[in-house]
């Protein structure tokens, strides 16, 4: 069976003036559908860069990244934006909710790019907020929610379009232990019950235990499984 994500010989070099900084070196990685993969490694190892490349918010210097049959390195900016809206759900470490929008409106944001009817959007938003356990907080603004609750809204926003791949960049990194546990449980549930393929970057070995597979990165190279 073809893996959902195929990373082949990917390198990424950042340029700072005349200085070239290699961040990823000849990485190859396959992620099958339904996987829950944790990427671990020390700071500066290239975890987030690899995540950014897989999610199509950055482009590799060389190599190819095929997600669900699409070589995303070959897409132009607007095609890539459209591809992201259909295929990627992104959960950030610092939630990145829009402060002027309510929980409901934040979850609605990605749906603005779809052709769903108002009724369908409402049903989806309410269902997702129910899944993350925030049905009673949908009219609350981010400042009225705890960190854990904000991250649950962010997860609802990430999965409301039913994306192919859910990306988490240290989703528990800014949370206390209890809230982190809740988020990890939620991610596990999304993986098991809703068959979501998840790639998560984390520093935390405990968080990584929630994943089915763990990959380690060090100095831009995958070291061991």
């Amino acid at each position: 069976m073809t893996p959902l994500v195929q990373v082949k010989n990917v390198s990424k070099v950042y340029k700072r003036d005349t200085l070239e900084i290699p961040v990823l070196q000849n990485i190859s990685l396959d992620v099958p559908e339904g996987e829950f993969l944790a990427l671990m490694g020390p700071s500066g190892s290239g975890k987030t860069t690899l995540l950014n490349l897989i999610s199509g918010i950055d482009l590799p210097t060389s190599g190819s990244i095929v997600v669900a049959g699409t070589d995303i390195a070959k897409l132009n900016e607007s095609a890539l934006a459209k591809w992201r809206s259909h295929n990627i759900g992104f959960v950030f470490q610092f939630y990145n909710l829009m402060p002027v929008l309510t929980a409901y409106e934040n979850v609605e944001l990605p749906l603005l790019l779809t052709n769903l009817s108002k009724k369908e959007k409402k049903e989806r938003i309410e269902m997702m907020l129910k899944v993350v356990g925030l049905s009673d907080r949908m009219d609350h603004y981010p400042r009225q929610l705890s960190g854990g609750q904000q991250q649950r809204v962010a997860i609802a926003r990430a999965v409301v379009t039913d994306p192919t791949l859910l990306i988490g960049d240290e989703p528990t990194g800014d949370l206390d232990r209890k809230s982190a546990e809740e988020i990890l449980t939620l991610l596990e549930r999304l993986n098991k019950e809703f068959k979501k393929t998840i790639i998560m970057v984390t520093h935390d070995p405990h968080a990584a235990q929630s994943a089915r597979t763990i990959q380690h990165l060090d100095k831009g190279e995958l070291t061991k499984n």
């Binding site: 900016e77 934006a81 992201r84 990627i88 992104f90 944001l109 990605p110």
Partner: protein, 366 residues
């Protein structure tokens, strides 16, 4: 938003001062000519010129007027209003934009020392028919008493309702004793012509009539005549106009700076939107839309405020600005500037956010 509102208000007020200053020019009639002394407006013309002017082809009526000035109560600004000696038989024919009730006009013609006052003077000073207005003469010495015989009103809002008209005969009669130099002389002639296209030929004909006399004349359209007064204060008006544009310029920079700062603070939000699948076009639209929304709401608020403020300002200086009305051109300019401010202020942040790489935006500490 408040800053834009204040700027548009200041712009509207200054522009209204500028447009009101020349309201006399705008209100002037195309088929009226003014004949004055060729050297200066302050030199009088013989009253005998009238019959000669009446004989020129194309002329339908000739009236005349004479600046009286004088002091009402004191020399304060509030008590100043134009006091003009006129020919009661013809003045309201040539100035058909002024309306006087027939019975009041009849009384005015009958009583030598009577006067007709404008509606705004009535509102300002509380004059009513039968009142006596005491004026101390300066150009024409002595104490003068004028009985209010009637009130004139303008047919539209551009008409000046702040003047007091009295009989030239009364002025002439008393001038024989106190200002003999002015006896049988008038300040200027108002010539009504049949066809506005005849203005150049009639003007030439009038001036040609008196070219060899001791009091040569200069005849021009009423608009040109009014314009010559406005041009005396041209530097002030130009300065005011300049200041109004400078205000818009400053606000443009302030708003642009505010939008740029706001966009800089929200760069991470724009990066998140792009991560979710929104394109640069969406983000540019968002920034431009916000900028336009702020500038338009601020501009609309300022424009709405301009009307009562101008009304209050005009009420404070009714004689300086007989017509103080926000011109359509001022409203159009205010709206245009509001749009321009919104667009220009959005250009740099929109360009920056469109060029921004998502990963760079997400690294920003918001």
């Amino acid at each position: 938003m408040l800053g834009i509102a204040v700027a548009v208000l200041a712009f509207g007020l200054l522009r209204t001062v500028v447009t009101s200053w020349s309201s006399g020019v705008e209100a002037s009639s195309a088929n009226r000519l003014i004949t004055r002394h060729a050297v200066s407006f302050i030199f009088p013309l013989p009253v005998s010129y009238r019959s000669q002017i009446e004989g020129i082809p194309g002329v339908t009526k000739v009236s005349f007027a004479n600046w009286f000035q004088g002091i009402y109560k004191d020399q304060s600004f509030e008590n100043f209003f134009p006091r003009v000696a006129i020919d009661p038989e013809t003045i309201f024919d040539v100035y058909s934009e002024y309306t006087v009730p027939p019975d009041q006009l009849a009384n005015f013609k009958k009583l030598r020392n009577s006067c007709i006052v404008g509606k705004k003077l009535v509102e300002q000073h509380g004059f009513k028919v039968g009142d006596i207005i005491n004026v101390k003469g300066d150009i024409y010495p002595g104490d003068w008493e004028f009985v209010v015989a009637g009130v004139y009103t303008g047919k539209d809002k551009t008409a000046d309702e702040t003047q007091m008209f009295f009989q030239w005969e009364y002025l002439n009669e008393r001038s024989r004793q106190t200002a003999s130099w002015a006896t049988d002389h008038v300040g200027w002639y108002i010539i009504q012509i049949r066809n506005m296209n005849d203005a150049p030929s009639v003007s030439e004909a009038v001036d040609a009539l008196f070219i060899n006399s001791s009091a040569k004349t200069k005849t021009e359209t009423e608009k040109a005549f009014q314009q010559s007064f406005v041009s005396l204060s041209g530097a002030i008006i130009t300065s005011l106009e300049l200041v109004s544009y400078v205000i818009i310029g400053i606000i443009l920079m302030v708003l642009a700076n505010t939008i740029i700062m706001s966009a800089r603070e929200r760069i991470r939000e724009y990066a998140v939107l792009k991560t979710l699948g929104f394109t640069s076009f969406h983000v540019v639209g968002l920034i431009a839309g916000e900028s336009l929304f702020i500038s338009m709401i601020g501009g609309a608020f300022g424009l709405i405020l301009t009307f009562p403020v101008c009304q209050g300002f005009g009420a404070q200086f009714p004689t300086l600005f007989p017509v103080f009305k926000v011109a359509n051109s001022t409203m159009v300019l205010a709206v245009m500037f509001s749009v321009l401010v919104g667009v220009v202020a959005a250009v740099f942040p929109a360009y920056r956010s469109a060029r921004m790489k998502i990963v760079d935006g997400l690294r920003q500490i918001g």
